[in-house]
Symmetry: C2
Subunit: 322 residues, 2 copies
Amino acid sequence: MPLSIIAGGAGFVGANLIPRLLDEGRYVVIVDNFSRGSADNIRKYLGDDRVTLIQADLSDRGATEGVFARAKVIGAIDEVWHLAANSDIPAGVQDSDVDFKDTFRTTFELLRAMRQFEVGTLHFASSSAVYGDLGDQRLHEFIGPLLPISNYGAMKLASEAQASAAAESFLRRVNLFRFPNVVGVPATHGVILDFVNKLAARPETLDVLGDGTQQKAYLHVSDLVAAMLAVRARRIDGKIEVVNIGPTDVGVTVRWIAEQVVARVRRGATISFGTGNKGWVGDVPKFNYSTDRIQSYGWAPALGSSEAIVRAIDEIARQQGC
Amino acid sequence: MPLSIIAGGAGFVGANLIPRLLDEGRYVVIVDNFSRGSADNIRKYLGDDRVTLIQADLSDRGATEGVFARAKVIGAIDEVWHLAANSDIPAGVQDSDVDFKDTFRTTFELLRAMRQFEVGTLHFASSSAVYGDLGDQRLHEFIGPLLPISNYGAMKLASEAQASAAAESFLRRVNLFRFPNVVGVPATHGVILDFVNKLAARPETLDVLGDGTQQKAYLHVSDLVAAMLAVRARRIDGKIEVVNIGPTDVGVTVRWIAEQVVARVRRGATISFGTGNKGWVGDVPKFNYSTDRIQSYGWAPALGSSEAIVRAIDEIARQQGC
């Protein structure tokens, strides 16, 4: 029986991917170190005989080999979904060890294990952060130079590079998915959860970092998973697919998101803005993300940025008990 | 007095860079683990009071901090030249630990030390290998996606990415020099040294990997160093310069190089070719390398590919005692 290993599978994206893979009749081995992921996120799938959850640190060689050895006994490992990463960008700017260990090193050890255990297909959760700040230029897949402005983006790009070399050497197929800002549940971080939690702690005023003019496009996690599965199903000429995944609109501002959160969670609260349009070091102020390639494959998101945000605010508010 | 740290400074490029930095009146701290570099390469500079040679492994955090601490006592460290890397591409394809440790990890620890010791300028020896195999496309700096086909190229790209994030966070200036194939002395590896050594071992026949049609552009190391110093002297708008360095011609074939080596070293030897136009996994068969950007800065190489090769063959033949 075909088996998928999902690295970082107890996180936000993994929790939404698992049911889709089970629907295909697959075995699933979920690996997580629970630094950000949690068994709670995937509790409802743990009763399924085909699901195995392993707590392991994939930046450790022995632990990673152990995971593959266990998975091999369960089924025929034919693909790895690599979703494990540090997702706290400011933490990674503060200390380069964070993204190194959780993003770069996990890719490195997964690739070594894939070679050793002869697993041919890698799906990697890369990021639009690999583009850095290219000003007003449209960010399509064939633009350069790639100069990320955070260690988060740097280690995502470094992971893409490793996977690319591995494709030349021993893999059969690599999909590099450049994620946009993704929203939905189970939410572990991000602007919506941040706003919801701030309002829960201090209901009168919502303090927003920056002046609120920062505009970004958002995709709902249900559309993200559908996009990845659509790309995975495509035959390609070479071994590597690099593709931006994102909504097809120009996005919404932080101000608009703040207003929607207030409207849903604490109608009447005051919103207080800071100054500047960069929230933190490593945060790209504006963003012109091309999804021409994936659209040319016939994929389109079911929800635009504003619909995705409104739906996610409701989901996250429920998650947080509001 | 200003002081330059040269990581991997006892290698091929370092040996050619050191005298130029001394000419500027600088102190120079050369750091090498002597895995490929050698004190012999830089012997003639070691008598200079301003030159310090330290044997250290820059993939080790403590060792790297120790180097900076020592250098700080000698002079005002204002720049790091990062030339340390694995240069054996096939070895890195065989074992991903090689490029990880010697290329990626050295960049990682150097950047941490630069932050700690407040050193603002990094010059990084990147590589045209970051481009991977983009077919017939012209390889200019603003092309993508960057999909290297060797761990060597992958860890060079990963190092660029790290340096880019560091520029956003704490560096003042980063120059990412994408090296072409560089020839000259002291030669430690490469096609010319390989051919010269093969003819020394077996004078009748020179066995060439591949069919000899593989074409590459070559730069003489004297031109490489001049180019880096020219870019370093330029003021730029942002903090990062990414620039291809290379000759302005389309290069020469392996067959032509083999013929020139035979003509200089062992006239009359037979040349025996293999099949295919890829020498090994990770070797890009054809190459269309744009140097438009650096030419627009007013730089031009003194020697074209064929002149660089002929001069380097003579230099390497002398080095090897032919």
